[in-house]
Amino acid sequence: MTFIALIPLFPLIGFLINGLGYGKISKTAVPWIGTGASLLSFVCVLLAYLNFKETAIIVNLFDWISIAGLNVGFSFQLDQLSIIMLFVITGVGTLIHLYSAGYMSHDEGYGKFFAYLNLFLFSMILLVLGGNYLMMFIGWEGVGLCSYLLIGFWNKNTDYANAARKAFIMNRIGDVGFLIGIFLILQNFGTLEYLEVFEKAKAFHVGDGIIVAITMALFVGAMGKSAQIPLFTWLPDAMAGPTPVSALIHAATMVTSGIYMIVRSNVLYTLSPFTLEFIAWIGLATALLGATIGLFQNDIKKVLAYSTVSQLGYMFLGLGVMAYSSGLFHVITHAFFKALLFLGAGSVIHAMSDDQDIRNMGGLWSKIKITAITFLVGTIAISGIPPFSGFFSKDEILAHVFEHNKIMWALGMLGSFMTAFYMFRLFFVTFKGSFRGTEEQKHHLHESPKSMTTPLIVLAVLSAIGGFIGFPEVFHLPHRLNEFLSPIFENSRLVNSSFGVVHISHNLELILMGASVLVAVISILFAYMVFGNGKNVPVADSEVVGLKKLVYNKYYIDELYNKVFVGPISAISFFFANVIDKKLIDKIVNSVGEGVNFSSKKIKELQVGVTGSYILFMTLGILLLVLYQFGPSLLSTFNLLQNK
């Protein structure tokens, strides 16, 4: 299986050419190399898939470490799970490379950008293709590094550089958990290879303490990477990076690696219902929080960022109720429609001369038709209207959640109501009504070049039909995804008898489906009534508190909306955005930073530069150590000596 080793090799070569040849390679060749590397990698995935037969293939390139008690190979594992992830990564990756060729063409760091993108693809492929936890960790750190480099790509602006650093450091905090998980696995299983770990895991019982510890530690890593409460605030800040980066890294691929990790370790998680319950609640809370904050954001990328946080929450909610394949299903469809939305947003920003504020937009529907139509497709998909892709995956998650816990289901429905609302609000405000920007911007409005619209169209098609890989059982159509993934969950079925048992009747399933569609439709109608006429435009930030100005038209529905909906909900949204997010979590993060700064200054003051003081500190150190170590025993020894 030589194709397998080639998959990560092409992006690596692309990175080396574009990176080492930075400034020497002509500007026309750069995107060809970058996109070509990604495309070749995609072709290899395709070939590997065509040659793939049921059982996992392990390719051990060489032994990384082989000493007593620690054996780790540089190995790749190709199985159903990695194939799906690889398709998403290289497929969406190629489209985004293509898009960047147009989007970044005016930037001076063109070659550097493509080099970083290729390096990211390489790390991401290592992450999902690696055959053991250490490979996953290497990829995990690698994507974090690339994310840092790409967020801070425009590093002339210190805010951007700080956002990059925040993202990296928050991710590192998550990595602490991941690393501890790895060490725990190593101590308890004696190996890090997936197949061996999962084989040995069968000997454990449901609810064993050590498994709970391992799974919780790993989940902390996933929290950081996949932006779950409380480690989510870096993701909205990460929007400082170029838009293709947001689409590729902060929507489609990197942020889903936490989900990949849990699906990969599904045996361990199935053994630990406690962790699963924890994950489900964290996921649900994140989904609601993200959606609530998303309701009243005015930066087009920020809305999408919070939406990503919220959708990631749904995925974790799915994982938490043991619906692993549904979670993965949502990863796939989300990669399609969220990449589409981000790229569409990029196209809008491009047309608006780099303005991201939706209050300055409006009426763009006729100006940039392709972008608008594809954006609409993405918006419908994320809102969960059949037969678009988001409907299938989200509905599947919610069906499993309903079976697990009715309250969770109701809250999930609330979240999906909000999702449809804020997405259509975004759509109407951006594309309907009349243009509100400056004359200069209006003059400059134009549809993006072909290299940018082609990926949009492809992604729009995928967002529309992508859901057909997994039909609900009630339609008696094949659920190809589940059938394909089935071998991955073999061990989970063995260790926990409650895994994969479905009690829901077909009638109930239809009712649930109907309910979620109804909720989405009502929500869209709401959004249409408020924003559809293009007159209700969100006001400037300073006036948000005085919400009365928000409503110009005195239709009774608007008043109702204002009283019942806008007032309380926007207060909650405002509360979450400004109090929980900015004040609480950011404050905790910042205060950690400030604590480091403060103690750094304090410790610096000890460094007075005078030899005498240094020796004094040393002597005190020696005294304290001796007392700490031997105080009690010294005392008793002297007593003994005296008594003689």
Partner: protein, 114 residues
């Protein structure tokens, strides 16, 4: 520990228990440390450090005698030789500083800090 080897030590030491030597050496050592801590003149500090080393020498000799083992005394020779080398280097450094700033007060040498 103190009793075990008492029959092998020379008569003159019989009247002085080992613990006295240990306490004396420790006192000298601590005096050396205190000297290092409170003095500002580099030469005096240096002398205090020598005092610490000599306290160690005395300790070694005392142990050596009580254990009837010559190794400790050999060690003392090494300490003396090495201390002499240290003196050579140390005085050279002090002279170098005196040439540059005309003082050997170490408390004003605090430009490297922070």
């Amino acid at each position: 520990m103190f009793e075990s080897s008492i029959d092998r030590i020379p008569d003159v030491f019989m009247k002085v228990p080992l613990v006295n030597f240990v306490l004396l050496a420790t006192m000298l050592f601590v005096i050396g440390i205190v000297g290092v801590l409170i003095r500002k003149n580099a030469i005096i500090i240096f002398m205090s450090i020598e005092l610490m080393l000599n306290a160690v020498n005395m300790l070694l000799i005392a142990f050596s005698s009580y254990k009837s083992d010559p190794n400790g005394q050999i060690f003392v020779f090494f300490i003396m030789a090495v201390a002499a080398a240290e003196v050579a280097v140390g005085l050279a450094i002090i002279v170098m500083i005196f040439r540059n700033i005309k003082t050997i007060d170490i408390s004003i040498l605090n430009k490297l800090r922070g």
